[in-house]
Every structure is written in C-alpha cells, then in structure tokens.
C-alpha cells in the first residue's frame, strides 16, 4: 500500500529538447530549468540507507574513474569548478571555454545529445535510459519514412483531420478550443489549394530535422523509478507530444523554434552571455521554450500544465495532468506527506457496482463543490469561449454544494445529461469535487487528514473570507471536540447561509469531513430462536407428511411449489408464535397430524408444498438440527437418494423373488427406524419452550435464549434475497409495531450494509430528512451502528 509516487522538485529535475538532423547530426536544443545539477553519487541524496554504495563503488571510484576523469583535460582545475555558479562562462587552463548551458545534470550536452537521439525503432515508443541515479524518459518522434513532416492532405477533405479529431475534446482530456481548430483548419485549406512546391520539400528533406525528442530528466529514489517513469509517460509525456507533432506537421514549428533557439545559443556563446540572461531571452522569444517551462513548473508541482504553442497558423492549446484523486478513503500512514489535506470520505468508495452504473443514484448522492471562487471559474470559462461556454457558466452559477445534481437537473436550464457531463469535466480539471450535498443537520468533524502545516496561512485566508466569523482555529477546535449537527454551531437561523458557505470553504480545504453513521442489522436471540423453532416445526411436519406421501403416491415435490416456498415458510412463522403451548404441541406432533389434509389447519401445508422448501432451499438443510440428526425427510422419499433400485432399474437384472422379499423387509426396517427417529425428534421438539414475543427482543434474557448470542447480518440487502437471513429480516419486520416503520423496513434494509450512510437514506429514498430519521429511529433496536467518515 502507499500513495502514488508523483513528480516533485526533488525527483523531477527538468525537461530537455533534443533534435536530430539528417546532415548535421543531433543537437541539444533547450532544457529547463536552466541549472540541472548533477546528482552527486556519494552525497546525501542517496543516503547511507541506499545500501548499494558498498565497497564495489569504492573500488571503482578509486581505480577506474579517477584516472579517467584526469584524462579529460577539458575541465578546469577543481577549485574553480566547485565555485562555479553555473551561470558564467569559465575558461580552462588549456584555453577552452566552458559554457554553462553545455552541461546538464553533470554531463556535457555534446554527449547527452547523442545518447538521447535513439534509433527510429523507438519512434512513438517509450525510450528510457538511465545513468546511475539519473533517468531519462521520452517518446521520440521521427519524421515519416518519406522524410517529409508535412502531411499530404487530399483536397476537399472534410475539415476534421484525424489529428484534430484526436486533439479536440475527447472525454475532456485533451482540449483545443474550437476557435483555434477552425483557425488552423482554414489555413490548412488555403495551403492545400496551392500545391506544395516540390523544390521546397526537397530542401526540407535535406536540411531538416529527422526527429525530435522531448526528454524528461528524473532523479527518482531507487524504489520510485518504475512507477514515476510510468506515471509520467502515460499521463504527460505521451500526451504532450501530440501538440508538438501536430504543430511540426502543420507548420514545421518544432524545427523552426529549435533553429531560433540554437542560433541564439550560438551567438551568445561567443558573447559569453550569462546563462540567466540568455534563458530569459529564449523564454521570451520562443513559445516552445516557454511551453517547456510551463510543463516543468506545472508537472513538478503536480498541477495542470496548460500549453500554448504560438504557431504561425494560430495558437495551439493543450492541457495535460496526472489525474489526482480528490479524496481518500482511509488514513494514510503517518509518514506520507503527499496525501495530507485531501478530503477523506467513503462516499464514493462504498458505492457498489450496481449503483455505480445507475446515474440516478450518483445524481442524488452528490453535489458539486467548486474548488475556487465562482467568479474566477466563470472568468476562466469566458476567457476561452466556445459553444458550450454559456451552458457551463450557467451550470457554475446554479451549482451549490447544498444541491444534488439531481436537483440541478430538475431545473429548466440544463438537462441531467449536461449536468453530469459538465460536472465530470470540472472534476477532471480539478475545478470542483463531488461531495454529498452539505446540510446543516449533518455532522461534520475536523478531518483526521487535515494538513495543519497550512493552518497559519489558512487562518489568514479564513479571516479575510469570513471577517465576522470565529477564528479558524477556534471554529475547528469546536468542531473537533464532540460530533454535533453542524447547525449547533450556527448562532441563529439567519446565519445559516453564511455558515454553510463556511462549511463549503472548510470542505474545499479538506479541513472537515462528514461523520456518517453506518448500520448493520442485528438479530437478537429471541428472533433467532423464533425462526429456528418455526423452521424445525416446519421440518417435522414435512417429515410426517413425507412419511405418508409414498402411500398416497404423491411423493415428489413439483417444481412449481418451490416458488411458493418462501411464503409458505413465512406464514407459519407469523402464526405459529402466538398459539398457546398446548395447542402448539398438538398441532405439530407428527403422530396426531399424520394425515396432513386433516391435521393441518393451513391449506398451504399439503405434503408437496411442505416438502419442497426443505429439499429446494439450501439454508433449510444447513440447519443445525437437521445436520445433527439424520433427516428423515431425506431417506425414503427424496428421489435421488431414496431407493437405488428405483433410480437405476434398467441396468440391473430383474431381482429374484427372494431378493424382492429381502429388499422389502429391509425397506420396512428402514422405514421403522425412520419413524422411530422422527417420533423421538418430535418429542424432543415438543419439550422445547415455545417462542414468546417480548416488546424488546434486545432485552429478553429468558433462560432458553442464554446459549444464543446476537447475530449481525453484514449485508441486509444481499441477505434478503435468500437463506435464513431473509427469514430473520422478515421476522424482525413483523416485530416493528409502527405500521409506517414496518412498511419502510423492507425498503430501508438495503442501506443496512455498513457501506451506505444513514445520513443519505433520505436523499436516496426521496423522503424528508425528519421522516427518514424517525423511521430509522423506529428500527434502531435492530441495528448496530458505527460512525466514521
């Protein structure tokens, strides 16, 4: 377990662009940040705990490397080198010049450029090379085999080329604003109208670039390498190359920018310009360089990188990010700083499979909580308008953290589908999170995952946002002392809206989380006994009936009866508990009720119906009683095990008379034994105390219940489908005295699975909060609750 390994300033050193040219070979174009320092092997970066710095390295360092480096005379004396600020140019004793930008991560760019221009086999594939701790990850892009970047487009092609199709909104993941696309496309059409100059193409072929490679330079810890490289590769590196390749294909953008940067570098090499000055100039003049800067700054802080490539054919915008969960389901280990401050909740996690695909469920359960100011988001939307902007702005205006998507979708402005789509869009781009709708009656506590290192800044921001509210530390402290409904903290009803805004503010910062109640059904011994008792009675009756059945020639339970089994089982449970003891024993004594049609007062109890639930339903067989005694119902009648001779008569030779007699005697003996056993069981059963219903089953401490301990049904909804648990549930249902509660019981029990919070029952069932809580209160005797987020 552990939180995902994400890029940060210590493991993500920089980005670099390397190109290869057909004639002049590879060139290291640009890197950002300007100073990528070597990660010195023996320094604390690796730490003594790394374990790999053993004698082997000592040996190598002494013997192999020292002479090798001495041989490299292009370096100035070490004192100078140590004092070097990596900004000025240095001169070696031999007169050669050391240019600050020609050393990246401790290696000369001359060497790196050849290392980082791999063969065509790596075209659009992961290329990962590592040097000691350093790791270079990239996705090289090669020129098409014909040597021409520009894509030949057939005339009168429909405006959407496959490339733009790729780039425009797909799941909201990659996004070029519509205006840009159309701008580019109109130019495209114009270009295509004039047939390409073959001479120009040939020229491009000769001098042009054969590949470019945007390299991410990493310095991961030993155990991070794979995960970090994979994360960056899938979410950033692969995606970021799309606009690069697109712009190169459209307007030779990457090469033209590279040429410009390289010229600048060459000129300033002679002028011995300070690196900081040169870099400033490059970043100002080249949107490609600026874009690399943006990528580095955003990715190393794990933000969304918004690229802007100012190609001559219009601006290409593109956004990439490593998707971040906006919530956690459980506390991270103490030492993991990365996920501190994230909202902690199980609201999303415990959504089970079925409801996940039910949009209505999600709609009702969640509201949109904007992560920044509404005005700011609207401004952002309007800054980059397209046909959906108006609707999105409307959506932002309508969205309130107290209103579920369902409620927003009910309005006239937006359809539920739009609400869903925009909400997903905002959540993906980290402008909002989905939370259960905030409500003043719910309980909110100080989040155990809140990040207190942010407290000083946060309390300032808080007092600016809510000048008259209590100070943030005081307010949080109050919330943390004991869980209470949020409205308790609100001085009066007039303050409610402000206090809900405060709550939204706290939720956004991950300072608070909702304390929810999760329930399970508990079956008290009284109920256990009652169900047990009725099942046993049932079984005995079935046995008695079955004993008669062969004689009546009516032995086999038909399939149709199985369907009724549940009702036929439930019925006796309800009626049976009430009769007086004397009556009860009379009724269920198999001796007296041997003729079922006479003995049984219930029509449902004809032998076939009574028999079928036992053989058809597994749980009945697994009764402790039927397991401890050989079940008489199983022996003679059940068609499979009853008489082997009956089931496989054709394969045998016809039995002789003697055999037949012997067989008959044997069967009789078995039957005798069976009936004797049945009688014994019935007698034992008759001695058991008859279940009595008390007002509070949880308090019933009768002696015959002492050996039973309460039983918890983990998932009532699943349990209600079949098995003994379903009998318990319906038995409990009959105990609920209030008719409203009794009616709600089978509807509500699906929430008693320890996964769905009772706070959300009202939302899901579309009833008033108060009503829901009143109903739940009526059921509370049969629930065991636990409270967490």
């Amino acid at each position: 377990m552990g939180s995902p390994i994400l890029p940060n300033a210590s493991n993500f050193l920089g980005v670099a662009l390397v190109v290869n040219r057909s004639r002049d070979g590879p060139r290291f174009v640009f890197h950002y940040p300007p100073q990528i320092l070597p990660c010195n092997k023996n320094a604390s970066a690796n730490g003594p705990s790394d374990g790999l710095e053993d004698d082997d390295d000592v040996l190598l360092n002494q013997t192999a490397r020292a002479p090798f480096e001495a041989a490299n005379e292009s370096l100035p004396n070490s004192v100078d080198l140590q004092r070097w600020n990596h900004d000025d140019h240095l001169e070696t004793d031999s007169g050669s010049q050391i240019v600050p930008w020609e050393h990246v991560a401790g290696y000369p760019t001359k060497d790196l450029e050849s290392l980082l221009t791999p063969a065509r086999a790596y075209h659009k594939k992961l290329f990962q090379v590592s040097l000691d701790q350093l790791c270079f990850v990239s996705y090289p892009i090669y020129v098409p085999e014909n040597g021409i970047w520009r894509k030949k487009q057939p005339k009168f092609q429909p405006p959407k080329s496959p490339e733009t199709g790729d780039l425009s909104t797909k799941d909201g993941q990659t996004y070029i604003s519509a205006s840009d696309v159309s701008q580019i496309e109109t130019r495209d059409m114009a270009d295509d109208a004039i047939p390409g100059n073959p001479a120009e193409e040939a020229d491009e072929k000769k001098s042009g670039m054969t590949m470019f490679n945007l390299v991410f330079i990493l310095n991961p810890k030993k155990h991070e390498v794979k995960e970090l490289a994979d994360t960056l590769y899938f979410h950033i590196i692969k995606k970021i190359n799309k606009p690069f390749r697109y712009s190169q294909q459209k307007s030779d953008f990457v090469w033209k920018e590279s040429k410009r940067i390289l010229t600048l570098k060459d000129k300033n090499r002679e002028a011995k310009t300070k690196m900081s000055t040169l870099w400033k100039e490059i970043l100002e003049t080249s949107s490609l360089a600026a874009c690399m800067q943006d990528v580095y700054e955003a990715v190393s802080h794990n933000k969304i990188a918004a690229l802007q490539l100012e190609t001559p054919e219009g601006t290409i915008t593109h956004s990439v990010q490593i998707p971040m969960p906006f919530y956690l389901t459980d506390l991270p280990p103490d030492d993991e700083a990365g996920s501190r401050g994230l909202w902690i909740t199980t609201a999303n996690y415990f959504v089970d499979e079925d409801s996940l695909h039910d949009p209505a469920f999600l709609d009702k359960n969640f509201a949109l909580l904007l992560m920044s100011d509404e005005k700011k988001i609207i401004a952002e939307l309007q800054a980059d308008p397209d046909e959906t902007t108006a609707a999105m702005v409307e959506f932002v205006r309508l969205s309130k953290p107290t209103m579920s998507f369902h409620q927003i979708g009910q309005g006239t402005a937006l359809s539920p589908a739009q609400v869903r789509e925009y909400a997903q869009h905002f959540i993906f781009w980290r402008r909002a999170i989905a939370t259960p709708p905030l409500h003043a009656r719910d309980v909110y506590i100080l989040s155990p995952n809140s990040d207190f290192t942010l407290l000083p800044q946060a309390s300032r921001a808080w007092s600016r946002a809510f000048p008259v509210a209590p100070a943030l530390p005081d307010f949080l402290a109050e919330l943390s002392v004991a869980p209470r409904p949020y409205k308790w903290f609100c001085p009066s009803k007039n303050h409610r809206p402000t206090y809900l805004q405060m709550l939204a503010w706290l939720m956004r910062g991950g300072w608070v989380t909702q304390l929810c109640t999760f329930a399970y059904v508990v079956v008290w011994p009284e109920i256990l006994y009652e169900v047990e008792y009725s099942l046993e009675a049932e079984e005995l009756r079935a046995a008695a009936a079955a004993a008669d059945a062969p004689r009546n020639g009516n032995g086999e339970g038909s399939e149709d009866d199985a369907a009724d089994s549940d009702e036929s089982l439930e019925e006796p449970v309800s009626t049976m508990a009430s009769p007086s003891p004397g009556e009860g024993t009379q009724q269920f004594d198999p001796m007296t009720s041997s003729n079922p049609s006479l003995g049984s007062p219930f029509p449902a109890f004809d032998p076939t119906a009574a028999h079928s639930p036992l053989s058809a339903s597994e749980p009945a067989k697994s009764l402790s009683l039927s397991l401890s005694l050989p079940s008489p119902a199983q022996g003679p009648i059940s068609p499979s095990s009853a008489s082997p001779s009956a089931s496989t008569p054709t394969t045998r030779t016809p039995p002789t008379t003697n055999e037949r007699v012997a067989e008959k005697a044997r069967l009789e003996r078995i039957a005798d034994k069976e009936s004797r056993l049945a009688a014994e069981r019935a007698a034992a059963f008759a001695r058991k105390p008859v279940p009595r219903q008390t007002d509070h089953p949880s308090l019933n401490s009768a002696a015959h219940l002492a050996h039973l301990s309460p039983y918890v049904i983990v998932d009532a909804r699943r349990a209600s489908a079949a098995g003994k648990d379903s009998l318990y549930l319906s038995a409990i249902g009959r105990r609920l005295r209030d008719p409203a509660v009794r009616a709600a019981w089978p509807v509500f029990w699906k929430h008693f699975n320890g996964r769905s919070a009772l706070e959300r029952v009202a939302l899901l069932q579309d009833v008033k909060r108060k009503e829901a809580w009143a109903l739940l209160g009526g059921m509370s005797e049969f629930l065991v609750c636990v409270r967490h987020w």
Binding site: D56, L131, D330, L446, L455, R460
Partner: protein
Amino acid sequence: MIQGIFYARFLPQEGTKIVAQSPPGCIVATTYTPHLKPPLVDFDIIQEYIIPRKAFFNRFMTVNSPDGKYSILGFPVSIPSEQYHRNEFIFNFGLVVEADVDQIPYERLVRRLAVTFAEMERQNGYLSADGGVDEDGRRPIESLLEIVKEDLNNYGECMIPVDEANTLNMKLFPYHPPPPPVHGWHVPVPKMKLGDIVDPTWDLTLQKIIPHIDGVNDVRRIAWLADVSLPLTRCALQHLLYYDTVLLLDMFFFGSCYAPRPGVHDFIANRDELVDECAGYVCVVGNKPGGPGDSGCGSGGGGQDGTGSHDVRGRSAVADDDGNSNSKREATSTTAAAAGRVGGAGGGGTGTAVTKYQLIKLMTTFCVGRSVMEWIKLHQDAGFDVLRYIDVRRLVQFGVIKGLLYRVHKYVVSKQYLSLLATGKRVVESQEGEGDDDESQRLVRYTDGCHSFDQIITEQNMTDADICNKLKSFKPGDLTIFYR
C-alpha cells in the same frame, strides 16, 4: 529472471562486439546457432548503450528495448593504460531482464561483475589475454557467464571461482524502501519474539533495547530503561522497522480518544476470522495467581491458527512482561494512567467468554469525542463491565494494528503564534530548540498545530495535566485545543 547475460568489448578496429553471451544468440545470432530463436534485442539499436560515449563510462546504465519487453543493464568500464592499443581497454558485462521486473536487485550484480573483471584485468590482464577457446570450442568466459546466469536464476546466488585468486560471489537481495522515521512518542510492538532470535553477535544497542520492546514502552522510555541515547535507540528501531519486525503504535492512555476507520467493516463482517483473533488476544481469562498484571492471553494468542495472526502471536510473547512494565510505569509516574489499570482488571475475572457480538459492540462504540475512559463508563452503565472481561489496552491496540481504529490526537494551537508564522515574523524552529529558560516559552513552539500532546509529553517529560497547567500561563483565549 535473467533472460540473457553478455560480455561486450570495444575493439579499435571492429567497434562494439559481443564476445560472449548466454544463452547463445540472446544478443547477436552466432554462426554456431543459426537454428535458435532470434536475439532478444536488436544489437544494432542498443549497441550505442552497451559501449556508449566516453562521458558515460564507469556508470551503471540501463536502456529499454524498443518493443518495451526487455531492459538491458550494463556497466561500461574503461581501463586506461598504455599497454593497450589506443591506450584504453573498454568492456561491459551486461544483463537482459524483462522490463517489468524489479531491476534493483540486478544493479548490484552488474556492478559486481564490472568491478571483479576490471580488477582481474588490472591484475593479470585476464580479459585482454583471453584469446583461446577450450575443447568445446567455447571461450571459458562464456561457460562462466552461463553458470552465473543459471545459478542466479535458480538459487538467487552464485559463488564461482574464476581463477586461483578470484571468486565471483553474488546474491540477489530484495530492496526495501527506507523505513519511516521513529519518534520518541512511538510505541514499538514486536512482530516476533525478538528475545529468542537475538544472539551476542548482534549490534550492542539492539541487544540492549530488545528486552524493553514490549508493546507498552514508548521509544523514549526504552532509551531510558536500556540506558541508550534516544537517537541511537531510534536508529536501532529503524533497523527493526526496515526488516518489518516491529510495528509503531501510539502511546496508550485511558484519557485519549480512538475512533473507527472504514476498516471496522471487516471486523463486523468477521473477515478472516478477525473477531475470533481479537477474542483470543483481548479477553481476560481468569486470574492466575502469578500476578495481577498477567492478563493471561499468552495461551489464547498462541493457540491461534497460523494465518494472519503474526502480530498477535508476537504480542503474546510479551504478555508476561506486561506486569513488570506496568509497575515500572507507575513507579516512574509520568504516564501512570496508561496500562496500569489493566493490572487491576483481571481481579474479578470469571473466565466467561465474551461473545462476538459484544466485541463488535465494543469496537463500534469508539467514537470521535469519546475517550477510552468514557467508553468504559458507557459500557459499565449499559451493564457490561468491560474491565472484567477485556484487556482494554490490547483491544485498542488490536484495533489500531488492524486498521479498525485510529488515535484521535490532541493538539494545542496558539492563534498569536499562528499569525506570527503566517506573516513570516517567526519561522518554525528546529526540533532541538535552544532550551528557553521559560517553560511556557518552551511550549510555544508546539502550538502550531503540528505537534501532538504525545510529542510534548515525551519531549518535555510532562504529563497531560502538567502541560495543561503550564498552558494556563498563556494569554487567555489565545489557545485552543484540537482533537484530530
């Protein structure tokens, strides 16, 4: 699994050349083995990374194959000497492994191969003199590589004499990330009977502290009891943590508060017989005459089935220590409230088994804002005398270890101090403050909300009540207490 192992040289005339490889044909096809599978990688593409440019010599170097299936691990070595043609001898011993396996264990091997052969070359020109082939028509180095590969793949280690003086000793070690820091207020809980496996060859500090690791003592106390400095103790415990032999918990106080985590669902569902395991661990079974502190769970815990009860069994080993440590704790008084009460608990034990439902009820009634003391009271009022049946400390620790409960820590925050921090007028001082003379001044640096009471208790050697008293000297209304 090592898919291939090779020895490459840079020859002045021919360029990079694979001199030996195992299995044959894994890097380049050979004339002897044309019928074999095609090479794993395209040599023409990767040769640049086997013998790279000069700047990259003497470094561990890896590259993936274009198809993403394999990684090539190597360590190009250059030995400069006038005796060689062009004054340099360049070689690389490398491995080919699947791209998705953990490469960390192989890095050592590659480094070791490079070092050993570089040294042998320097001693007697082992590599440069190698020209002959043995009777099978193979170079001795090729058979050597084959043995290395086979041994490492089959046994995870190899010990192969190369000549009279040199042996290749290599082993694949799993890599563990560095353990989290150990703090003075942590309570280490052994996962195994450390006392049984320790022997006189172990580190002296470890030998001294191990007897005091009993799941009750906090790190600072262990240091004090073992007469070892705190930093050394922490370092030693980090070693135990690295090998996953201890767990770190919080200090147990009856006044502190615990609350359920979502993991409590597993307990209620009794997944992996969690409740039964808990019962075996926490139930007080009778009171032995041996001592009131002996909660007698040794047998219960030890009798658990083998699956998933490591910590419990480890813990039962220390059960007998509890009595002693409790009395010590009371004698030294700072945290007397902690486990001491448990000692009295066994007094009236009747040996009645606690039902699963009761355990579930106990576990689920922990709540934010309810201290352990209040929790006990709650159950006593409901007619269940917890202390008679349950070792509360063990129940809580069981919950924390299994991720069912979390400790709600107590923090103190000074608004004044916060605003100083926010405006940058005061920076967060280093942990080892320069010992202000005024006690309340000493406490100020804890009031930024990042230091729990546990930390103050251990670092300042004060009890909870002491701290609260001291805090009274702050400006009224400035301090707030958080529970998080």
